[in-house]
Subunit: 310 residues, 2 copies
Amino acid sequence: MILTVTLNAALDITYRVPALVPHASHRVTEVTERPGGKGLNVARVLAAIGHDVTVTGFAGGDTGRVLHERLAHEPRVTDALVPVEGASRRTLAVVDAATGDTTQLNEPGPAISPAEWSAFRESYEELLRRGTTAVALCGSLPPGVPVGAYATLVRAARAAKVPVLLDTSGEALRRGVAARPDIVKPNADELAELTGSHEPAQAARDARRRGAHAVVASLGAEGLRAVTPEGTWQAAPPALVRGNPTGAGDSAVAGLLSALVEQLPWPERLARAVALSAATVSSPVAGEFVPSVYEDLLTRVAVTGEATAA
Amino acid sequence: MILTVTLNAALDITYRVPALVPHASHRVTEVTERPGGKGLNVARVLAAIGHDVTVTGFAGGDTGRVLHERLAHEPRVTDALVPVEGASRRTLAVVDAATGDTTQLNEPGPAISPAEWSAFRESYEELLRRGTTAVALCGSLPPGVPVGAYATLVRAARAAKVPVLLDTSGEALRRGVAARPDIVKPNADELAELTGSHEPAQAARDARRRGAHAVVASLGAEGLRAVTPEGTWQAAPPALVRGNPTGAGDSAVAGLLSALVEQLPWPERLARAVALSAATVSSPVAGEFVPSVYEDLLTRVAVTGEATAA
C-alpha cells in the first residue's frame, strides 16, 4: 500500500460565477467540493490507476468531518487522517465563466499543537511498519508543525526502509532534502529557490549534492528532467498540451510513485508521470485526468537520456 | 414563544483578505461563520433582547448539519429546521481589509421537493398550535417552493390566530400581502416594486389596500414609517448613524415582533425597532448590536405621527 502525507489537507471548493466583480453581489451557479491538498490529490490519481493508497495528515472541525466522509466514498483510498482540535481549512476557487480565470481564496490551516504533531508521528511510524511500500510527503506545513517536519518524516521512512518522495517548497524542502529522500520533485521555481540556479540541469545536480538521491524536476510544457543514481533523462509529452495545469504536478508524483513500487526502470517511470500529468492538464475538470487520454499519451511520451555506466 | 421562518436558511461565512484582486491567489486572514438568512438573524436579535424563539425552515447536507450544531449553542433559540435532501447554502462575504468593501458570493439554495414542502407545512402548523405568540416569515424562497408559499403560511397563521409579519420581496411579497398579514416590513425599493409608487406615504397606503393590515416601511437613515389601522407614525434615530447596514432590517423586524407580543402601542414598537436597527448599523460586527448603544438610542428615538380617531 502506498502512503501519502498531506499535513495541510483541505476541502477544495469551486464556485462558478458568470463574472467576478469586486464589491458586487454574485449568484454562484455551480458548487463543487472535494478533498484537496497535494497528498490527497496524489492519492486520488494513484487510486484511479489501480493502486491501494492510505492518506494521512490532519483533519478537524466541521470541514475535517466532511473530509472524512468524502474519503469514505473514494474507492481504494483508506483514511488515516489524524484528528486535531482546530478546523481543517477550505480553499475556494472562484471561476469566472466569462473569462475562465480563477480567483483563489485559501483559509489558513488549523494550528497544530505539539501533542497533535507527536500523535501524527506515532501514527505515521505505525503505518510505515504496516506494509507501506512507498510514501509521498506533499505540500506546505500548517502552523505549529516544525519547519524540519519533513526531515523527520524522511528519516523515519528511511529507517523503515520505505522509499520516500518529497514534494514541497521553501525551507521545508531545504530541510527535507538534507534528510536524503529517495526522490524530490520540485518545479522549476522550487528548484531555483533551493539551489540558487535557474539552469535546471545544474540545479538538479546541486539538489542531489544537498542530499536527494534522485531529483525529478517538473518543467511545465517541457515535461520532466530526472537526475538519478541510475542515469539522467528528459521526458516530454508528444505535443504542447493546452488546458488547466492545476494538479499536473500531483499527477506526476502519482506516476513516479506507482512506477517505483512496480519496480519499473526510470524511463518508464518518467513516461508514466509525463502522460498522467499531460492528461490532467488536458482534462476539462481541474485536477482530474481522462484515462483514455492517459493511455494514448503513455505510448507517445518521448524519453531521452542515458543510464550511468555500471 | 416567537417563531421565525427562514425557508432559504444559510451558513453565512465571512473571509477577511488584505485586498481582493481578481484572478490572484489570496491568503484569508480571518474566517467567521454563523447561521444566516433573515429569519435566523431576526431570531438571534430576539434572543439577545430576552425572547424565547423557535426557528424553522429547511436544513440539509453538510452545511445543514453545521447549522443545527451552531443553533444548539445559541441561548433561547430552539431549532425546528426541517430536514431536506439537498445541501443548505452558504453565503460568502469577502471583506477587503484595505477598503472595507465586501464582495458577496451566494450559493443557490437546495431544491425543495413537494414532499419536503408538505412536511414543512405540517411542522409549521404544529408549531402555530403549540404556543407560538407571533411569527415572522423572512427572506427569499428556495427553488421548488411555490411562489405563493408565504400566502399559504400567512393564511395558516391567521387561521391559528397568531399575528404574522412578512418580510420578503418581489412576487413572494405580492402574493403574501394578498393573504392579509398583520404586518409587512418592506424597504423603500421593495415597497416601490410592490406598489409602483416611489412616494413612501402613498405606497404604504397602497400596500394596505392590497391586504396588509399594517405596513412598516424601512427607509434607511430616515428610520421607519408605519401606516396601521391604529394610526400613522414616523420614527427616526436621533442622528445619522454611520456603519454597516447589514442586518439592520432584521433587527427592525425583531423590534416590531417583540414589542407586538409585549402588547406595546405602535409608537413604542417603532422606537424599539429603530433603536435596534441603528444599534446594529453602528456595531463593528455586521448584523450584531451593542446592548448599551441600543439602550441609549431607545430613549432618544423621535416618534411623530398620530393615532386614528376612535
